[in-house]
Symmetry: D2
Subunit: 437 residues, 4 copies
């Protein structure tokens, strides 16, 4: 046993030279000497990480997991002492013993200029690796914990994005739009006209990179289809008469921030900002995709037994006889899709309501990821819209259907609480469509 | 016993109505419903705190201590599981169990606009209360932990303060200067002339409040007295010829950030900024007060036995025969002080070196708080200056003596490490002055 | 005669070496070569001027007058041609012939960085010299003409001055306040509280120098005395309830812009800005000094015969018997002034109204310079206030009296027109006070 | 005759209702009442103009010409008085009499918010009309005179345009690029890479509209063709090694500023800015089109007798036998152009040099408008480049040839002066190519 680094004996991973240098730099950063070196050592350490290739990165994370975890013996001793006497001294010893040294390491790395950006890139890679190495969750827990604290809404700034925004930021908006692809600069310009709004969140340590953004259309009714939203508007010169704000796209720009709640905060802030600018606005809703509907339908049609009720079974048979077992094929011929789907309108609306009202396998409310996001934020499942997105992607994912989720400021807290308790809050109309089980 | 809040049984403190409402609001903020409410509930909670008077604040902190601590049984169970199997799942359970719920409460409070400022005011009050109630250290530990993470150097901005700075910021500089009082706006203006620099650190969540600032004079030599620094300069029109930057004052503006290291980072950043602007600058040093010298001398003269060596005992006798047992009286008659001290110059320089080279009672290096700050930052005790501050305050605190600490960029890390190991790094000259023990 | 510079034969002034170099540089600037040299030659010329001492400046202006004027023969020929045939060609030839070459010289000088500032300093000096050398009016005419075109209101920016304004600008506000001296920074701060406003005009070429500024107090009535305006206010926390904006001070910062109308534009803009911010504001008025009242009274008391009417003569006798012939002496003993003036209140109010309603010697409406400024801007002489400024200066200038001029947006044009036709627009109350002639 | 408006008797133009209202508003603006109305009347007048259609605009300019000119009788009297006695009073009377009232009218219009922009739009229209109505030159003279004074270089700001510039400004750069068309946003982005620079001039009264901009490539040699300039660069990551700045495009954005010299000032400023940023830059040159070369050649080939010398005549015959009489046809088949032109290289280079060295018909130096612009700015005709722009446009205009003009800071003044005297400054190489006459 090597006396000088007893705690690190666990590090059995075979590391390359570059990884070893980085790990040494990390160890040094955690010492007192590293404390004095301040930002310069942090910068050097970040630079060493930047030089790693993909495989070396994987090794580094393995070391982070193995070596920079709390010492089980220490923690046990500290918690026994705290259980015996819950004094301030024992509590702070417990906190110190139980906190993985990784966290302090990351806090010191963050002192470097560009440190926050470097840590976000690290986590981006870690999330990739976690798919095959679930044990890396231990490292990711710390990253997520720190990022949630650092990207606290109180530190974020909401910024309006429009045609006066610098080009390098608009370019990122084009690149990251995940819901309705932006077809270049002319398309973007249309979406920034007077009757549209786009807002992004920024963190002061990343002034050049939006974190997340939302696109809003100002209308005189709840939108029932996507085309008027992303195309030129008839009333575009007088948004002050709008009564309804439709959030038709919300996109994350930072994969490294997955799991750090930003969308909820952004939506609520934008509701406040818009209410102040347009006193006539009364309705705040989304027009949202249903990414899992067609896939769920496909499973059922292929015979998956989900204990279907009789009406559900009947509806499925009717759909199958018209569309065949693979409903997503409808997307291959978008020109005739509308026609072929027409006769199934009522059935598909019912099936969709049934899907959206279903609980996930673990019993959690909401099967659909988009539904879960908005319901958890306190929105209500308000309306299902027929042929709202007849694009290839829209047909393939959800046979052209889309949903409005309604954000009613005074109901948000209550709705969220119901969701937490397992209830799916929906309008009478949608509930009426769902097929009994 | 109330089934619904079993954990809170420990809260035995008698609270008033306002405190109860605030505590209820804090509990709610920690629930899922509070999660959805987002910033609005946080804002409300911060408002409730703001309405408390000083006594109610004390009660609230008592509740924070009693109620929002980790549950000893939970922690013990979690650490036993982790000791048995240090898996990712067990680790994250441990982390959750061991972290005081106060931390998450503070993170959620921080979501409100002005949340960070509110938390700083809270800690300011807590530090007052801690003097008489050391058990509040448990609460303070969490505050300090979070503030250190949030006020990470990577998030701070360094800003030059000069005559182009808005008046409301300059006003705060005048108010917070702690070393050499600024006598109004004309005095401030002189200190912002071309051969002076002033830099402050800001946090993006507090854009209107400097955290800490440092004042620097650009000279052609290491300053041996304070008057030329704060008075008009002969070479003020060409600071580009300066070879020496003298940091003559460093002041904190946020009592709520006590214990969060900022000064170290500020000094090192200013060294970088100045080096870039003035390539001829070679020496970076301070001109610092010695706040504890006269008091220490007084103790010795009053007979305190510190196991004095013979030379020390002789020196003390000589001083006593000239100044009497209470050396601070010299400050009562500043006009004749210079004359009376003249004959004691050598002895006092020796005594001062002895004082500065002494370890604190606990064996820590550095008795003097200012010395400890700079030595811990990696500076070297470079020179003791005779009659460097002949003001009333200077005479009373240190019989007019001041010190230069030297920041040599390449030696900083090593010096800090020596300090950590218990060594006081000093120039040969200062070491030569110290009286053997 | 030197063939190459025939036009310059008129230059008979004895110039020194520096002036000669400057004049050569000016001549060159006007040539084609100067055109190509662009800003560099302009900068050099401005530098040469800056090196002149006061006497050399005087010589330079003499040359500007003698040498850079239009050629009488050319002008006559051009106007004869234009009279014979008013064609475009003949007109442009006339314009070229009649415009003094000084104007093009100044336009080219203005190309230099800092050119506009240099020209303002030039005019400042010229205005001093003009007092004794009225013939310099020829040069000043051109400067005033160009400055009026360059400082066109369309090019000016109105900026709010408050406690967030950089110190170097506030310093200029303190220095230039001409009506009620600002006693340092604390006094300034009071005048920038929530119930006060200060606005300044800036020109983009002089971003660091305010041109003119106005101070406004927001009140619930028309102010009848100066002290509440410049002192702390009881309602300072809610200016939104104010009904009346009192312009209590308007000061020029640029002596070189004398005669270029800025105050008129500033006042009207501030009325617009304040109306937009405070919808309850109904009354916009000034509280103004009467700088010439006491002097005028003195003249009459010393026997000047202005064809006084009987009531006027009686009033004068009464004043003389109480105050003696030199009324300004009252200012020597401000402590007893109030008492001594009390019995004369009605008479002095009448005399003041009489003074203000009087025409100047040339028959122009308004004797008093301040009255003339506001009446010409379209304001109405609204009210005379007794003991409104009991300061030494206030007593000496106007025995403590002050006036409110009222700016009623809809009446401004009409009032101005009446003023132009020779009428003094006053309220019924003031007219009632004036003693018939 | 109408007594009240005797001066306006000349106004014989038939005006419509809208034009009449505008003219009345202009007359009012020039009165004293208009003076007091200030910006509001100016704004109203500008609004009235904005409502005119194209024909009404023409009528309005006719009135401006007829009615707002100086009165010939007044001018004659004033110049006679000035000739008799050139006093200051007589001079200022002359200035007033000779200045067209239009100028004061425009100055007062300019007081309105957006006044400057309105006046630029007016002039844009006037320039169109002047083509058929040369008598409008009288009005244009005044506009040009005022705009030259207002858009004085001393008032302009030079701004770097890059990928951080707001999109609405970049959009204008794309729209106004007149030399090498920008093919959308991706193309623009390439031109704003690290080894390119783009600078624009702005006037403070038009902060949203660039006046003129220049595109520069940073290279290690003088560019001999256009393609490397507008395409991606090999050394784009280290422009600091560049020795040569090539100005490859300069474009005006404001047709209303035609004749107001801006390009000269922009180029010289950019030379200064680049010299400061890149100390290694030694050569500043253009790569410029020769818009008139092919047309001139065509004229000669069609037999125009310009008194050709023998070598010139021979060269022409050779070109004609290869390309036929209409040389611009070569542009119809760009794919084979290079091949067909190859054998004519030497002859065409000689003909081009001959063309560029020729004087215009009036004897002015420089036939080609681009040549005239740069030579007048003080540049030297440095090099003719073979097949430098093989685009369709390049072939049609100049058979693919382009020129480098060299800006040598120290030679600029001298070169300009030579140009003024009628000399075309060219390198020995270019002079050697020109065919003797």
């Amino acid at each position: 046993m090597f006396k000088s680094i007893p705690k690190f004996a666990a590090a059995r991973v075979r590391e390359g030279r570059k990884v070893r240098r980085l790990v040494l730099s990390c160890r040094k950063l955690l010492t007192e000497r590293g404390q004095a070196a301040g930002a310069s050592l942090a910068r050097m350490t970040a630079d060493l990480y930047r030089e790693l290739d993909k495989r070396e990165q994987a090794r580094f994370f393995a070391v982070l997991r193995a070596e920079f975890s709390p010492d089980p013996t220490d923690v046990l001793a500290a918690s026994q002492a705290y259980a015996a006497e819950p004094s301030a001294v024992n509590l702070s010893r417990l906190c110190v013993a139980a906190e993985p040294p990784r966290q302090e390491l990351l806090r010191r790395l963050n002192r470097a200029t560009g440190g926050t950006a470097a840590i976000l890139r690290m986590r981006e890679r870690l999330l990739e690796l976690k798919r095959d190495q679930p044990e890396l969750e231990a490292v990711d827990w710390d990253l997520r914990h720190l990022l949630s604290s650092w990207f606290n809404p109180g530190f974020l700034q909401i910024v309006r994005v429009d045609w006066h925004t610098p080009a390098y930021l608009l370019e990122q908006i084009i690149a990251h739009e995940a819901v309705h692809e932006i077809q270049g600069w002319d398309d973007l310009r249309r979406r920034l006209e007077a009757d549209h709004r786009c807002f992004a969140l920024f963190h002061p340590a990343l002034p050049d990179e939006p974190l997340i953004f939302v696109e809003v259309a100002l209308l005189d009714r709840m939108a029932d289809g996507v085309s008027p939203l992303v195309e030129a508007q008839p009333f575009s010169h007088d948004p002050s008469r709008a009564t309804t704000a439709v959030f038709y796209s919300i996109s994350n720009c930072q994969p490294g921030l997955r799991g750090v709640a930003l969308g909820n905060f952004l939506i609520k802030n934008v509701v406040d900002v818009l209410s102040a600018e347009f006193p006539r606005l009364k309705v705040f809703c989304t027009l949202s995709p249903i990414p899992g509907f067609a896939a769920w339908l496909g499973l059922l049609l292929k015979g998956a037994d989900m204990g279907q009720s009789k009406p559900l079974a009947q509806a499925l048979r009717a759909v199958a006889s018209e569309l065949g077992p693979d409903v997503t094929k409808i997307a291959n011929d978008p020109d005739h899709a509308v026609e072929r789907l027409a006769s199934l309108k009522e059935l598909l609306m019912q099936l969709c309501a049934t899907y959206l009202m279903q609980h996930a396998d673990g019993g959690e409310p909401g099967r659909d990821p988009v539904a879960r996001f908005h319901l958890n934020n306190g929105a209500r499942l308000e309306r299902i819209n027929w042929l709202a997105d007849a694009s290839k992607k829209g047909l393939r994912e959800s046979l052209g259907l889309m949903v409005n989720y309604l954000y009613e400021p005074r109901a948000i807290e209550g709705n969220h609480e119901k969701f937490i308790r397992g209830e799916i809050v929906a309008s009478r109309r949608v509930r009426g469509l769902a097929l009994g089980e």
